[in-house]
């Protein structure tokens, strides 16, 4: 229910007095209400939940998070740990394993 996905703002419009926009989700384009992200600019990514953009994705923070993952990983590697030896599988390979 609270699922929300990132998409790119490609157009900003107005409808019945509220700011709306067209959002591109990797090729699929849909309309969303932008009233809660009034400062948004074309080209920025927003998190959209049921037709409403609720947050602008912070590019700097996204990068930092990924870098931090790398650091944690390196620390673990230095300790010579590879505990499970089984990476997470992508969705389409899952499901069979646990039967």
């Amino acid at each position: 229910m609270c699922l929300a996905i990132p998409g790119k703002v490609i157009e900003i419009t107005e409808e019945n007095g509220i700011q709306m926009g067209r959002i591109d989700y990797a090729g699929t384009v849909n309309t969303a209400c932008l009233a809660y992200v009034p400062e948004v600019k074309i080209g920025q990514y927003v998190i959209v939940h049921a037709g409403f953009a609720l947050s602008i994705v912070d590019e700097e923070e996204a990068k930092k998070t990924l870098e931090l993952f790398g650091e944690i990983a390196d620390q673990a590697a230095r300790k010579g740990l590879d505990v499970f030896g089984m990476p997470l599988k992508p969705d389409d390979e899952r499901g069979e394993k646990d039967q």
């Binding site: 229910m1 990132p6 790398g70 505990v83 499970f84 599988k89 499901g95």
Partner: protein, 368 residues
């Protein structure tokens, strides 16, 4: 897709798992509050890849699952009326009431429509001035700004044929109720990232302090969840109890102020019943008196409908993290996603449905 794929990277996930194993020295119980996270955890097998000492319990964060049976029955009664176009998010349509669900009402001739956004329901009201359009406003703080905007817009546009059946619930009161129960096992929380997108995370500070629990605001992709768990375990191992934000690319400390503002103007906080768990004070939203005319319960007088849950269903215990779905006698027997007995089997974000769909019939974690 940008901001999705890199947070699903199996190599990063693998490395985070090693990191978690490195810091874990004792058994810990961590609850993921949100049903979207439960779904991602079970689908990706995260619970089975973690060190054995770490137990994930699945929290009450699935709005479909906690909407009380009597609200569903009220929805069914309203949707059956001839003058009504009943609109809802898709995942509420199959939730069983005490006798039927919204799909059955539709097959019996009721005008039940799935909408993507609450604003679509407002549009329907504008286009159908001779019909009564009702929107089923369920959900947490993530959804409340959407339904608040729908009512606000209906008022701005002077629509008198739009109402909402409101069953909004709030996350922090539910966490407090869990923590103050004598049966509580939860030692740390992964807080729901999208709820915090709207509300921010300051309201978790007093909870973390009072109950001495780490609370990590966490995203929804596999590596987000793993990092959230990593941060929680680190705090637990070091004896810290703080609020930390893993989902920094989306969640700000103060949340989304314009969204909070509209929620406050349209809704008021009050007590709400949670399906299977009971009633908590200050745990839900209802329309303010100024917006009473948009309240479907008032317009259609359904307040007398009250029903009890089927006693065989233990979803209340599951939503509190006290039991696992496969421990229910009905699980996979009388109760399946095709014929659900409880709401946790209906929504794909419900713990029972997630266990059923991903064949989790017992605790079959790999020994470590």
């Amino acid at each position: 897709m940008k901001y999705l794929e890199e947070f699903r990277d199996p190599h990063l996930a693998q490395k985070l798992l090693s990191g978690i194993a490195t810091v874990t020295t004792k058994p810990w119980v961590i609850m993921e509050v949100c049903g979207g996270q439960t779904h991602a955890i079970i689908r990706n097998g995260i619970d089975q890849l973690l060190p054995r000492q770490i137990e994930l319990v699945h929290g009450p964060g699935c709005p479909v699952c906690v909407t009380p049976l009597e609200m569903i029955d009220r929805a069914l009664a309203i949707a059956s009326r001839e003058e009504v176009i009943f609109t809802s998010f898709g995942d509420m349509l199959r939730v069983p009431g005490s006798e039927k669900d919204l799909f059955m009402v539709k097959s019996e001739g009721g005008d039940v429509r799935m909408v993507y956004s609450p604003l679509d329901a407002v549009k329907l009201a504008r286009e159908n001035p001779n019909r009564q359009v009702v929107f089923f406003a369920v959900g947490f703080e993530t959804t409340a700004p959407l339904t608040a905007m729908a009512v606000w817009q209906a008022k701005q546009q002077g629509l008198d044929n739009f109402t909402m059946l409101v069953a909004h619930v709030l996350v922090p009161p539910a966490m407090t109720a869990l923590l103050s129960s004598s049966e509580n096992r939860v030692q740390a929380f992964l807080a729901a990232g999208h709820v915090c997108t709207v509300m921010g995370w300051e309201e978790y500070l007093p909870i973390s302090e009072r109950y001495r629990v780490p609370i990590i605001v966490t995203g929804f992709e596999p590596v987000d969840i793993l990092e959230g768990i990593f941060m929680a375990v680190q705090q637990l191992e070091q004896g810290r109890a703080e609020v930390e934000n893993q989902y920094r690319r989306v969640v700000k400390r103060e949340g989304n102020r314009p969204a909070q503002e509209l929620i406050r103007r349209v809704f008021q906080v009050g007590s709400r019943k949670w399906r299977g768990i009971g009633e908590f004070p200050q745990s839900g939203l209802s329309l303010r008196p100024e917006f009473e005319e948009y309240d479907a319960e008032k317009r259609f007088d359904t307040e007398s409908i009250n029903v009890e849950e089927p006693p065989e269903c233990i979803s209340g215990l599951i939503l509190q993290g006290l039991k696992k779905p496969h421990e229910c006698d009905q699980f996979g027997k009388r109760c399946t996603p095709q014929s659900p007995m409880g709401a946790t089997m209906v929504s794909s974000e419900g713990a029972c449905a997630a266990y059923y769909n991903y064949h989790r019939h017992q605790d079959d974690r790999v020994e470590s």
